[in-house]
Every structure is written in structure tokens, then in C-alpha cells.
């Protein structure tokens, strides 16, 4: 059995968890490793009674809730669900839905980029 090790170096302090997961997915897909689906991740929060998508460092350290969601895009299954701070149940549902939408948007974008890259490589190859 072979093992696959993934090393990620982050350059910035915001949204690192989600960025790492998305980067790892992209790298695995590009390397030609078979995967059942694309895993994407996004974070959302709740500040001043508004749900916010993709918090940056300032919004994250403001003390509000931070929900990180990782899903399998097409199969609609949740692989990662983390939360800091407390949230009442219904707000949690809105925030989680928002994060899931963000994940799906990223997944579509990743797919487009992969397709375009593959087309270009194939075209170059002749």
C-alpha cells in the first residue's frame, strides 16, 4: 500500500484551514490521484446579527462565531464541521447554509480551473 503525504505552507493568517483543504484538493486532482469527489471548504461567521462569508483576520478575532464547513461538492456530504464560540440553533443553520453555498461556489471554480488547465496541457502536447 502506498501512502500519500501532503505538505502545505501557508503564507497568510486568515482562513488557513479552508485554504489548506482547497489547495490539497487541487494538488491531488492535478497529480492524477483518483478521488470520489472534490473536497472544498469555506468558513462563515455571524457578527452584529449578520451572517458573513469567508471571515478575515479582523472579523474572526472580533469574538463572533466562526463556522468552518468542508463538503464533498457533488455528493453533498459534509466532511468537516467546526465551530468556535456559541450560536443559537437557527442562526447556526443559516450560517452553515451560507458556508455550504460558498463551498459549492469554490468547487465550481476549482472544476473550471482544472478543466482549463487540462485543455491547455493537452493542446500544448499536440
Amino acid at each position: 500500500m502506498t501512502s500519500i503525504s501532503i505538505l502545505i505552507m501557508t503564507a497568510c493568517m486568515t482562513g488557513t484551514r479552508s485554504a489548506c483543504i482547497n489547495a490539497a484538493t487541487l494538488a491531488l486532482a492535478d497529480a492524477g490521484i483518483p478521488m470520489r469527489d472534490i473536497v472544498t471548504s469555506c468558513s462563515a461567521g455571524y457578527l452584529c446579527s449578520t451572517p458573513l462569508l469567508d471571515l478575515n483576520y479582523i472579523e474572526d478575532s472580533a469574538g463572533g462565531a466562526d463556522v468552518t464547513v468542508g463538503i464533498l461538492a457533488k455528493m453533498d456530504k459534509v466532511t468537516l464541521l467546526q465551530m468556535d464560540a456559541k450560536l443559537p440553533m437557527d442562526t447556526f443553520e443559516t450560517v452553515m447554509d451560507l458556508a455550504t453555498e460558498g463551498c459549492k461556489a469554490i468547487a465550481t471554480y476549482i472544476r473550471e480551473v482544472l478543466l482549463e488547465n487540462t485543455k491547455q496541457l493537452e493542446c500544448q502536447r499536440g
Binding site: D30, P34, R125
Partner: protein
Amino acid sequence: RGHGTTDQDGEVVATLCGVVERVNKLVYVRTLRARYKPEVGDIIVGRVIEIAPKRWRLEINFSQDAVLMLSSMNLPDGIQRRRTAVDELNMRSIFEENDVVCAEVRGFQHDGSLHLQARSQKYGKLQRGQLLTVPAYLVKRRKLHFHHLEQYDVDLILGCNGFIWVGEHVVVREIADLKEDEQKLSAEAETFTPIETRRHICRLANAARLLSALGFTLTVELIIQTAEASVSSNVEINDMLGAEFYVQTAEGEAKRRGDLLGKKR
């Protein structure tokens, strides 16, 4: 429903990022930048990383190391006999660590690693040359992987695993001549490669590097063409990897492909 696809709720979904190929009713996905995928009979260039009992372990561009057994290798004196313990102790005199070796894939072992053989005179240790690494998908499987470029006196070996050897031409000697040539061997070891050959080697190696960076499939004709183009444009060998020659090569290739398309119509 072939390689790289899976069945999800009755729909065929791809599990790999690549190009979809259809052969009659078989649908499969072919990846581009994946690791080298070996098949029996491939010609491979590899580097020795370890000497184990009765075998050498070679590094090729694969997820596991390939194994070259002592019994799959021709002995230096050419006699076909059983390998004794003395042969085992002399393994180091045939190949050492970090030697570049050319061999053929004989099959797969039970754990998935490769089994190699080097029984013919054209396989074996490669000396006096350069080893290049290119992405494995740029080397297609052809009938001929050993190329002897006469006008440069250079050997070009396109390994299917993406390792390319460009080196001084080695005369393939018959086994009967070996005893007479033993004296010549020691004399040859002292003569150096002439500088013109070395220049040609460097030029061809740079041409191969350039083509692999541009993403073109590597064929001997293309490499020779690029090298000749660099000579005719008076580009210095070390300038070949610079931006200008890149652009020139890309334009030449684009023109060539446009001509091909025009001919097809």
C-alpha cells in the same frame, strides 16, 4: 466504464482530472501529469540507489523502486552460468550507487513494484552523458527508443518513465570481441570525450529541456530540429534556455502544426 471512472447512482462519473477517451464501449479517463504508469516491455532509464542481496534497486519515476535482479543481468565476461557467491560480492564492480542504468520492464512483482531485465548488449550502464528528467506523459511509447544520431555521434535514449539520456555513442560490442578489447578498454577509459561531442550533447539536452518546459511531446525529430534551429540562429548553448529562443521554438512549432492542419484539409 474503465479506468478513472466510477458508477454513482447509475451515472458514470470521472474520478480523475484528465482527458476522456472512448474506445468502442469503453470509456476511460487518461491523466496528464500523473506519475509514470509502466507496462511490460517498456524501456526505462533509472538510477541505482541501493545494492541489496542479489539485486539492485533503481529509482525510476514511479511510486516504488524497481528491482534489477543479478540473474537478469549479463555478466561482464559474457558466459551464461549460474551466479555464485563471488558474483554477488562483485556486484559493485558492475553497477554502483548513483549509476545510470538502462533496462527493460520484465513484469510486476506481487507488491506492485517493477521487475527489470537488462539481458541484451544495448542495456546496461550508461556513461559519459547527461540524464534529464521530463514529465512522463511527454514521452509516448514508440517502436524505437534508442536513437543513434550519427551526425553528432551521440546516443539518445528516451526512457518511457520520463528519464532521458543524452550521451556519447557507445559501440555495441559482440561478446566474442570482449577479450581482445580488454586492453582497449583500459586505454579508452583514459581518453576524454572530444569537446565537439560534448557541445552536441549539451545542445541536445538543452533542446529536450526546452521542449519539455513548453509541453510538447518529445520525439527525436523534434529534438534534432530544435537543436538545428538553435545552430542556424547562432544561439549560444547556454542561451538556449533563455526567453528568446523559447519564443522562437514555440512559434516554429505553431507554424508546423498549422501547416499540418492545412494539409489535412
